[in-house]
């Protein structure tokens, strides 16, 4: 590189970074000239794309030179990140070019392994799936995908299974990360996904993080909140967690609670809101109703007996609800949670004060919970009781961890019970609608949900399910009580096809591995946490014979005789055709996604998009076109309930496993800043790998002292299901209190999930990765 070019790039780096600061500080009028200067760089071609990693959906400018991605810059025109990127976004080029990137299919048969041309591998896969269906019936094969599927990938897989094969055996790893948010939204509002948007971060007065380490997991959004606090110092940040994190450091208040006791804390806040007269009676009387439901619902364990139907419920009145929460005094909740009653009262006051606009934020801490649906409901209760919802700076906000958990899994509908745009397979009208768009006989669509993710893998491990196509996910790292599943799969040997970008523990158990194109190696769309659908074009070629996941699915489907479902030829036509057909489902049901051509031009648009205009606050008159004039608010997902949201009576209950004399520590698992999920991409980036090369166990300093452990010492964790030896991390970035430990799950060579418990929320079927009992042994 010449000195002149270096200086040019340095000037551009400085100008671009300065403009991002201006945008963050709200004075970004001078962005355009900087953007133009860098786009005019003759050495590099720049195009927009959303980031490949988390659910934030940051906009990235991608620089291509000689057919390779050579530069990235935060997209200042994208309102999500205003030009900022986190450490993962900045290493995006690195994830494309890892040394062991999969480029050719591999077939393993009769103990042999051979590389194969893609055409031959697809023929082989289709033949095997056909043979399985012929022998065992149409329920014998399945697809398991991901919140990293593009919208097109998910739609193709769902259509193939439901309209082609004729079953509902479609699931996605988002079942493991946000299914409780889905069922929380559905049970309270009748429709999925947040009512608010990221604009709330510039409008709120109080931000409450419920078990959410936003500083590390959604760092760009957290920076927007820090910027808000900088401009309005009275803004307050409240961290409610089970261990101290970087979010705690930045917060004004920290409430450290006993695992699972968030249920009691939320009920105590609701009680205070009622007892102190802070209920917004006008809002509640016009827009809410109250319900209670069955409570003996179990924990979804494999050997659990029959329990009550978790969905059985009845309407109650406010007085019954008030009597129910009255026992949750701050003192009672304090006994359960360990949080001082004064802190619970103070937080209730913030929720109750009509002058304070409050945003509640959460992610895995509330969702990966054996009462995940309930705790989502209970936080909604606080916003509904106070009327702090669907307004700028006021609302509950469920964040997602994957780039299209919302856009693909939740909106397209790649969970067993779902049809596109919030429809359900067990609703005859919805099936008829789908059959019409798909041009298939309605009788060919299976009328009942089949297997949620945990059931799907239990069936694979017990030989009931014979074949599966797994795309862009890594269940042999992420399933809880992992050894049980691995042993079952090794014993029963189902036919497993995996398409992915790098070798993983899941490709290791595959009979066929298909190389996939990723991110800007193909065209696609993602949908982020704030209902924003973003589109990008193919910018570089994928390696070897790699193909987009949607193309792989369509090619298998065609070979199995389902080609009529996919009439589009060529990658570009397929991407557009799948999206536009999916879009038909969304029109008129409050989930209207934008036209494909509009998405090509925009930095994403938030649905419902009606007459080309996006929606920032759902359910609010003047913002949401679905709310009738004069209604003020309408929770139209609950139309049969008079467009009212439900305030749920949900009790505190103990978790299925707690520490005892034999296993005296709580274990929570989770993520770290540098690695994304199972690390299959980020561990290929040397700089990220070096920053966090292996999993570890965070231990409180006092516990470490008692056990004679120093930072870096080896310690064995033992649960009722497995054991794992890790390096101790004492006094590091995060610190649990005494009696609790934390292990990140990104490391495929040190699998945290050999320890975790296969228990889940009986409503959402989402496992609880945050709570099980272990003991520590010094090695």
């Amino acid at each position: 590189m010449t000195a002149n070019r270096r200086e040019f790039l340095k000037r551009m780096a400085a100008a671009w970074t300065g403009a991002s600061f201006a945008a963050l500080a709200g004075c970004g009028d001078d962005q355009q000239p900087v953007s133009q200067a860098i786009l005019d760089d003759p050495g590099v071609t720049w195009s927009k794309a959303p980031c490949r990693f988390c659910g934030t959906g940051c906009g990235v400018m991608v620089g291509v030179r000689d057919g390779k991605v050579v530069a990235v810059a935060g997209d200042q025109q994208n309102p999500v990140n205003l030009g900022l990127l986190c450490v993962k976004g900045y290493h995006l080029p690195g994830i494309l070019y890892g040394e062991d990137r999969l480029a050719m299919p591999v077939i393993r048969e009769n103990g042999d392994e051979r590389e194969s041309p893609m055409e031959e591998a697809l023929d082989y896969v289709a033949d095997r799936f056909k043979q399985i269906v012929d022998e065992h019936g149409k329920e014998s094969i399945a697809v398991y995908g991901s919140g990293q599927w593009t919208i097109q990938d998910g739609y193709a897989a769902s259509k193939w299974m439901r309209a082609g094969v004729g079953n509902n055996n479609v699931e996605a790893n988002a079942r493991l990360c946000m299914a409780s948010a889905v069922t929380g939204f559905l049970t309270t509002f009748g429709k999925d996904e947040p009512m608010g948007c990221y604009d709330d971060f510039e409008q709120g007065d109080v931000f409450v993080f419920w078990g959410n380490n936003m500083a590390e997991m959604h760092p760009v959004l957290f920076s927007r909140i820090l910027a808000r606090k900088k401009s309005v110092p009275a803004v307050q940040l409240v961290d409610i967690g089970t261990r101290r994190t970087r979010t705690t450091e930045a917060s004004d208040h920290y409430l450290e609670f006993e695992p699972n006791s968030d249920l009691a804390i939320a009920n105590a806040i609701a009680r205070e809101i009622i007892e102190q007269g802070w209920v917004n009676e006008d809002f509640v009387s016009k827009h809410c109703l109250f319900k209670k439901a069955s409570e003996d619902i179990g924990y979804g364990l494999r050997d659990e007996g029959a329990k009550q139907n978790p969905m059985a419920n009845e309407q109650i009145g406010f007085e019954e609800y008030r009597r129910f929460v009255s026992k949750y005094t701050p003192e009672y909740a304090s006994e359960i949670s360990g949080v001082p009653a004064s802190q619970i009262r103070d937080l209730a006051k913030l929720y109750g004060d009509p002058r304070q606009k409050v945003v509640s934020l959460w992610c895995m801490g509330m969702n990966q919970h054996t009462r995940g649906t309930w705790i989502n409901n209970l936080v909604y209760n606080l916003h509904l009781l106070t009327g702090k919802i669907s307004q700028p700076g006021n609302g509950p906000f469920s964040l997602t961890g994957q780039p299209s958990a919302c856009g693909t899994v939740r909106e397209v509908g790649t969970l067993t019970q779902a049809l596109p745009a919030g429809r359900r397979v067990d609703n005859p009208e919805h099936r008829a609608y789908a059959a019409k768009i798909w041009d298939v006989p309605v009788e060919s669509l299976a009328p009942k949900p089949s297997m949620h993710t945990m059931a799907m893998f239990r069936n694979l491990a017990t030989g009931k399910l014979k074949g599966v196509l797994i795309q862009v996910t890594n269940p042999m790292v992420t399933l809880p009580d992992l050894n049980w599943f691995k042993e079952g799969i090794a014993k029963h040997k189902p036919f497993i096809v995996v398409s992915d970008v790098y070798p993983t523990p899941t490709t290791e158990v595959a009979d066929v591995v298909l190389p996939a194109a990723m991110w800007v190696e193909r065209e696609g769309c993602f949908g982020n946490s704030e209902r924003r659908t973003q589109q990008w074009n193919q910018l570089v070629d994928p390696p070897g014979e790699a193909l987009p996941d949607s193309t792989i699915t369509v090619e298998i489907a065609r070979r199995m005789g389902h080609g009529k479902l996919f009439p589009w030829e060529g990658e570009e036509a397929l991407a557009r055709g799948l999206y536009e057909e999916y879009r038909e489902f969304t029109i008129g049901v409050g989930k209207d996604v934008a036209l494909y051509d509009d998405l090509k031009r925009a930095r994403g648009l938030r649905w419902p998009v009606v007459d080309g205009v996006e929606t920032r606050w759902r359910y609010a008159e003047g913002s949401d076109p679905y709310v009738p004039a004069g209604a003020e608010f309408a929770f139209y997902g609950n139309h049969s309930l008079g467009d009212r949201a439900v305030i749920w009576q949900r009790p505190y209950q103990e978790p299925p496993e707690s520490p005892d004399d034999e296993y005296p520590f709580w274990l929570a698992t989770g993520r770290v800043l540098e690695h994304w999920h199972t690390g299959s991409m980020t561990r290929r980036v040397p700089q990220l790998h070096q920053a966090q090369p292996k999993a570890y166990v965070e231990i409180n300093q006092e516990d470490a002292r008692t056990m004679g452990l120093s930072d870096g010492a080896s310690v064995k964790l033992v649960s009722r299901r497995g054991e794992l030896t890790l390096d101790a991390r004492v006094g590091g970035r995060g610190e649990p209190p005494t009696g609790r430990v934390f292990v990140p799950f990104f490391d495929e060579s040190l699998l945290a999930n050999v320890l975790t418990l296969d228990a889940h929320c009986p409503i959402s079927k989402q496992p609880d990765y945050k709570k099980c009992a272990v003991r520590l042994e010094k090695v």
Binding site: M1, R6, L9, K10, M12, A13, A14, W16, T17, G18, S20, F21, L24, A25, G43, V44, G63, R65, K68, V69, V70, A71, V72, A73, G74, G83, L84, L85, C86, V87, G89, Y90, P93, G94, Y97, P219, V220, F222, S223, L226, A227, K230, A250, P686, Q687, L688, Q690, A691
Partner: protein, 77 residues
Amino acid sequence: MPISGVLLQCDPERIAAAVQGVVARTRCEIRERRENALVVVTDTATLDADRAEVEALSTIEGVLAAHVVFSNIEDLT
């Protein structure tokens, strides 16, 4: 040879310490100073060194957060 633009969000009361910390690093230049932020450009020989600079910047006293906003590695791919 990577060139990166890094935005440092700083505590306004400790920004002088942050400036001192950045100036002490030979592969970094401060290109712009605001009340609560510094615009820094790094110019390093390898991706490892680039990453190390960013890590080091994020731990300097007075720095609340470090964001890499621009990164060019065209010599390395």
